[in-house]
C-alpha cells in the first residue's frame, strides 16, 4: 500500500512536470518576422489603440509618450508594478529585438523565457497582426528613454509561481475572436477592441483563476481596484446610441454630459487620438454585442 501511494505521488509529479514542460514559455521563431519592416506612423495608432501608456506611464503623469513604469495595480492576486517599457537600453526595453517584443505581446513570454503575469493583457494582444506588432515596435523606439529601474511585483502564494501560468495560458489564452463580425467596420471594431483596446480586461468578469468569463462578455465586473463596479456595456443594461459611444470615446462626455472619470478618463485620452472612423467602428462593435448573461 505504501509503495502504491508512493507510485501515485511519483506519477503525479511526472505528469505535473510534463504539463509544465509542455506549457513552458514559448518564444517566437525569428524567421516569422524576418521580412516585415515597421511603419512608425501606423505604430502610433496601434500604440494609442492599445492603451500602452495608461499603465506604463508614471503615476499621475499626463505625458502619454513617457513610459518609465512604476504605477502600482492592486488586485485580488497581489500588487503588480508596471515595468519600464521605454527605449532605455538598461532599464527599459531598448535592447530588445522585435522578435522578443513579439514574444512578449503575442505569447506573454519575456526575453529571459519566463511567463508574464496576465496583468499585462497579452490575452488580448495575442490577436494582433504581426505587422501591427512590428509597426508598434518602430513607433516605441522613437519614444524617449527613461532611466528608472523596475521593482518586483508583490504577489502572494500560489499566484507568484510563474510556471503555473503555463497551464493558465492553455485554459485562458485563446487567439480566436470572441464575437462574430461580418462587415469591414465590425471587423475593424472587433480588432480594435479584442486585439488592441483590451476593453474586456475590465468590462468582462473573471473566474476564480482570473480568466475571462466569455459568456458574460462585456457584461460588467467588479473594479479590480476593489472600489466600485465597471459597467455592463451590452444591451442587457446599456442603451447608448452608436453616436453617443463614439462621442464619449472622443470627448469623455456621456449622453447626460457628465464626463468620464477614473480609469476611463485614461482610456478616453487614448481613444481621442484615433480616427473618427476607428471610434465609429468601436461603437458599431459595442452596439452589436449580445446581451451578457
Amino acid at each position: 500500500m505504501k509503495r502504491f501511494l508512493l507510485g501515485v505521488v511519483l506519477l503525479g509529479l511526472v505528469v505535473a512536470a510534463g504539463v509544465l514542460w509542455l506549457t513552458r514559455p514559448q518564444h517566437i521563431a525569428p524567421e516569422r518576422f524576418a521580412n516585415l519592416s515597421g511603419d512608425a506612423a501606423n505604430g502610433e495608432t496601434v500604440y494609442f489603440a492599445g492603451g500602452c501608456a495608461s499603465c506604463h506611464k508614471a503615476e499621475g503623469s499626463e505625458d502619454a509618450l513617457s513610459l518609465p513604469g512604476g504605477r502600482r495595480f492592486t488586485t485580488p492576486f497581489g500588487t503588480f508594478v508596471a515595468p519600464n517599457i521605454s527605449s532605455d537600453a538598461a532599464t527599459g526595453i531598448g535592447d530588445w529585438t522585435v522578435v522578443q517584443f513579439a514574444s512578449a505581446l503575442l505569447n506573454g513570454t519575456s526575453p529571459e523565457g519566463r511567463h508574464y503575469f496576465p496583468a499585462f493583457p497579452y490575452t488580448t494582444y495575442a490577436r494582433m497582426t504581426d505587422q501591427d506588432v512590428v509597426d508598434l515596435w518602430a513607433f516605441m523606439q522613437t519614444l524617449p528613454a527613461e532611466d528608472r529601474a523596475n521593482e518586483p511585483h508583490d504577489i502572494g502564494f500560489p499566484f507568484n509561481i510563474r510556471l503555473s501560468l503555463g497551464p493558465w495560458k492553455v485554459l485562458f489564452l485563446d487567439r480566436d475572436w470572441v464575437q462574430p463580425a461580418d462587415t469591414p467596420e465590425l471587423q475593424r471594431g472587433r480588432y480594435l477592441v479584442e486585439a488592441l483596446g483590451h476593453c474586456a480586461e475590465c468590462h468582462t468578469p473573471r473566474n476564480i483563476l482570473g480568466g475571462a468569463k466569455t459568456a458574460s462578455w462585456m457584461g460588467g465586473a467588479p473594479n479590480p481596484s476593489g472600489k466600485g463596479k465597471i459597467p455592463d456595456i451590452t444591451p442587457k443594461s446599456f442603451d447608448w446610441s452608436a453616436t453617443d459611444i463614439a462621442y464619449y470615446l472622443e470627448s469623455g462626455f456621456t449622453p447626460e454630459f457628465d464626463s468620464a472619470g477614473g480609469e476611463m478618463a485614461e482610456v478616453v485620452a487614448n481613444m481621442a487620438r484615433l480616427s473618427p472612423e476607428d471610434r465609429a467602428a468601436i461603437a458599431a462593435y459595442v452596439k452589436a454585442l449580445p446581451a451578457a448573461n
Binding site: 469623455g252 462626455f253 457628465d258
Partner: protein
Amino acid sequence: MSRLPMIIASVAVVATAGIAIAGSHGGNPAVKARQAHMSLYAFNMATLGGMAKGEIEYNADAAKAAAGNMAALSTLAQGAYWVPGTSTAELGEETRALPKIWEAGSTAGEIGGRMAEAAQQLAAVAGDGKDAMAGALGGVGKECSACHKGYRQPQE
C-alpha cells in the same frame, strides 16, 4: 495688505452663512451648490455637445449663448462651496469629492483655472461654425475629465 481684512471678513460671512443654511435644511449646502453648478454645466453642454454630435442642428446664436454660460460658470468664485471638511471623508456618500482636492500638492485649483481658459476659448469661437465650436469643446472636456479622473470618487 488692504485686501486681507476684506478676505477674512468674506470668509467669515460665507462660513456663517454656510453654517446657518446647514442648520436649517437637509444636506450639506456646499455639496448642493457644487452639484447645482455641475448641473448647469451639463445643461449647457447638452446644447453644444448635441450640435457637435450632429443630433441638434448647429445654430450660432444658441451655441454662443450656451458657451457664454459655460465661460461665466467657470469664472464664478466657487471657493465658498469647495470648503474644506466637505469631502467623502467627512460626508460619506453625500458627495463624491475626494479628500485629495484639499490635500497638499492638489492640482484641482490649476485644473479649474485651465477650465476657465478653455471655456473662454470656447465662448470666443462658438459662433464660428460647428467645427470650430466642436474643437474648442474638446478642450473643455479635457479639463472636466482631468478633475474627475483624479478627484472624484468613481460611481458606486
